[in-house]
Symmetry: C2
Subunit: 244 residues, 2 copies
């Protein structure tokens, strides 16, 4: 059974303010919950209609379908909702390939970028303070468990870039053709906001401007979706290592 | 002024059933509307609070902010909403690079895939009947005008593939490393459903199974988002031509 107090607490986790106050966030869906249980993340409570999970018994709360519906943020809740503690970010490994997001606002974009980082072995994702919160339920959902394997740090991007010694890359309409560019194993790849791209203050710090070339006669597309651009950029950085 | 009848009609266009019955769809936002006005799409009516658009005067309906709010599907409507006629799909150019979607359901994914096709000069996108409708307001929004430059055909994918003579490609966890694969200028690239990938009947028709290699020690990611995978695959097909 889930108490009124618990329902109120869980529902409040849809808002960043309460996630930060309480240091907690929610995960839904069997696969996602299993990935978090299987990671370093610490479980607070697991609410489920079917206790099929490998979790400490005293943290499992059996609930009814009606109760799950009350606490879930999904249209079609799936068996369980787990509440985990938000961990402290670990130290950033500065001599590796790092993705830095300059005010990415869409939860789906952030979620799939986290999956891309996981796929391409990018261990650190650095987000500007105005980037959407990675514990937002829609982000957690879109990451499909990759959130457990990528270290995410929110901080002032200008300060982060100033403090780092590896080359800084960004994509622009006019720049070096990414397909022929020499790309190192380590560096910072900055990806910008959905509507405005990379902000002016960050732009000044970018040493290598890259372009994803368009193809065909009809080059009227003004931009790619930021997650799709990240996919192509990370693919290019890693291709050079995987190919040889 | 917008009549009650018009409000009802415009709101009904949020649903596929009514879009198909009426042969109409809605576009919002200045840039999107300008791209459609600048294309072969035929305007029915343009409802706007600021008549700044290059459209026939008798098709422009001046409305108030309150009226725009009533007809808009956006939280923050932006100056105008235009209703266009759904065009007939043109004949597919079978000897070029074609993307085929096997039940892609998320409007954001379809929208950004249309943008990718536009970016990489893919003129034809073929969608299975269960793929989300490309005139869904969220798809239209996500395409950022690219919908005017990509020919989209909904049909039985099995029949389409059977009727075509170019090689058929798909991405799988185990396949040929896409970075080293020989990829031709023309062919069909099949991308699968968000949860289930490519369906069994289509799988049998795929001649070239490609893999986007993961990088690093920690290869636990099960899949990439379908739009991000499309980005990487199209990038690889076009890189081979752009590079040389």
């Amino acid at each position: 059974m889930v108490t009124k107090h618990q329902i109120k607490l869980i529902k409040s986790l849809a808002q960043k303010k309460y996630r930060q106050q309480l240091g907690l966030f929610a995960v839904e869906g069997i696969k996602g919950i299993e990935e978090f249980l299987d990671s370093d993340f610490k479980l607070q409570y697991l609410y489920t209609t079917k206790p099929i999970f490998n979790a400490p018994k005293h943290l499992i709360v059996e609930i009814t379908d009606a109760e799950l519906k009350k606490i879930s943020s999904l249209k079609n809740p799936n068996i369980a909702l787990a509440v985990f503690h938000i961990p402290k970010a670990k130290a950033i490994k500065k001599d590796e390939l790092i993705v830095a997001l300059d005010d990415v606002r869409d939860p789906g974009n952030l979620g799939t970028i986290i999956r891309l980082c996981d796929w391409y072995g990018v261990k650190d994702l650095v987000c500007s303070a105005n980037t959407v919160d990675c514990y937002n339920p829609k982000v957690v959902q879109a990451t499909m468990g990759s959130l457990t394997r990528v270290n995410i740090t929110y901080m002032n991007l200008n300060e982060f870039i100033l403090s780092s010694e590896t080359p800084v890359f960004g994509t622009f309409m006019k720049g070096e053709n990414i397909y022929n560019a020499e790309l190192p194993k380590s560096g910072i790849v900055v990806m910008g906001n959905e509507a405005n791209g990379i902000s002016d203050s960050i732009k000044k710090q970018i040493e290598r401007k890259l372009t994803i070339p368009q193809y065909g006669e009809n080059q009227k597309t003004e931009s790619l979706n930021v997650a799709n651009a990240t996919a192509i950029v990370l693919s290019e950085f890693r291709r050079r290592i995987i190919e040889t």
